[in-house]
Symmetry: C2
Subunit: 227 residues, 2 copies
């Protein structure tokens, strides 16, 4: 196991990043999990990230703060209302979009990867059952890989960084199916953008709706349901 390669995994506490991390582990990577407290209102996901990191047996779990709510512009980081009951495939970019969030997350992962000597980063983005965020698209991920080759000392010395986005073209049902095959406990995860103060999911935001539809399509009960 110690001969396997290290990878920095962005871990939010949701089911996508948990599954992406487990896929990377199954592919033989040693996991270095990075959770970013970016000022999200749904801090319940931070507790979930810790539980998921333990369940995955990651080699190290770092949490880093960068308060993107200073910039405003998103209902995930401000008091603006989170949209509810949006029809699927509504189009447009919803207010839950956090400007440049994935660029910031990948930049931080890149910083850690370089100090670890890792050339692999894992991110659970998905461009099928998702909310239409621009920084979840395959062309964004490819562009970041290109940037990383120029941004770092490792890149200068010819070590190419790979960004793994294994869920990129999977449906939410595909993601859950693969996770269950890998033995994941989705009861540990948190997806809701707008939980009540006790951490209970709203059931109506995009993230809750996509999650519920995924479990329904797979035909299994969500072990986190009702929380």
């Amino acid at each position: 196991m110690s001969l396997s390669r290290p990878a920095v995994v962005l871990l939010s506490g949701g089911l996508d990043s948990y599954t992406a991390a487990a896929v990377a582990r199954a592919d033989g990577f040693r996991l270095f999990a990075l959770t970013v407290r970016y000022g999200q209102r749904h801090t319940a996901e931070l507790d979930a990230a810790r539980a998921v990191a333990r369940a995955l047996g990651v080699e190290r779990h770092l949490e880093i703060d960068v308060n993107l709510s200073l910039f405003g512009g998103s209902s995930l980081t401000t008091d603006a209302p989170v949209p509810k009951d949006r029809p699927p495939g509504d189009g447009g970019i919803p207010s839950t979009y956090v400007p440049a969030r994935n660029t910031v997350l990948l930049a931080l992962a890149l910083a850690w990867a370089e100090t670890l000597g890792a050339t692999d980063i894992v991110i659970g983005v998905n461009a099928i059952d998702y909310s239409g965020y621009p920084d979840c698209r395959p062309e964004f991920i490819a562009a970041f890989e290109g940037l990383a080759a120029l941004a770092t000392a490792a890149g200068v010395s010819g070590r190419r960084l790979t960004i793994h986005a294994p869920l990129q073209s999977w449906t939410k049902a595909d993601i859950i199916t693969r996770g269950l095959e890998l033995g994941l406990d989705y009861g540990l995860t948190h997806s809701c953008y707008d939980p009540d103060p006790s951490g209970r999911s709203c059931g109506r935001c995009d993230s809750c709706v996509l999650r519920a539809a995924g479990f329904a399509a797979v035909g299994v009960a969500d072990p986190a349901r009702g929380r």
Copy 2:
């Protein structure tokens, strides 16, 4: 003035970013200054950033924390010794390189630019009289511009972000000459990577050496000398 366009300016407190901001102001931009406390040991530059922001009359100055010292890997963010008396043009990437720092800085500037509705970012990188950091090179800046077009809602709607790096191909003497023409007070700035506890510059790190050589080439005294 209120009709002019907003630009996010990365302001470190050093003379390069001060000059880059002043060039942007002379070009008619309204300045939104962003200072990133990334765990640098030379916190004296943060006080300098505030003084410089005031002198520039920026519309707003935000400071944001992101503790890159969590990742280690640089003598600027750890207790590792800062190299002194390096010959100019030594080649190689010195230990003061902070992994992926400029990627992180530009990602944060991008986040703010998007919430401001700004399509311009200004950064004082320079690839002539510099320390050989990979993320100061023109190809890195160009790659980040390409990434930004894919990373943001603004990019999706066809608004192209421009990264201005006006000092890119200037010598340190060129930078100082232009700044003096613009009436800048370089006595406000701080460059040293390794000041003593009172904030006094060491005179021997790369940043001090490049600065001193720049003032010598212009033939003027450094107004911050001895501090």
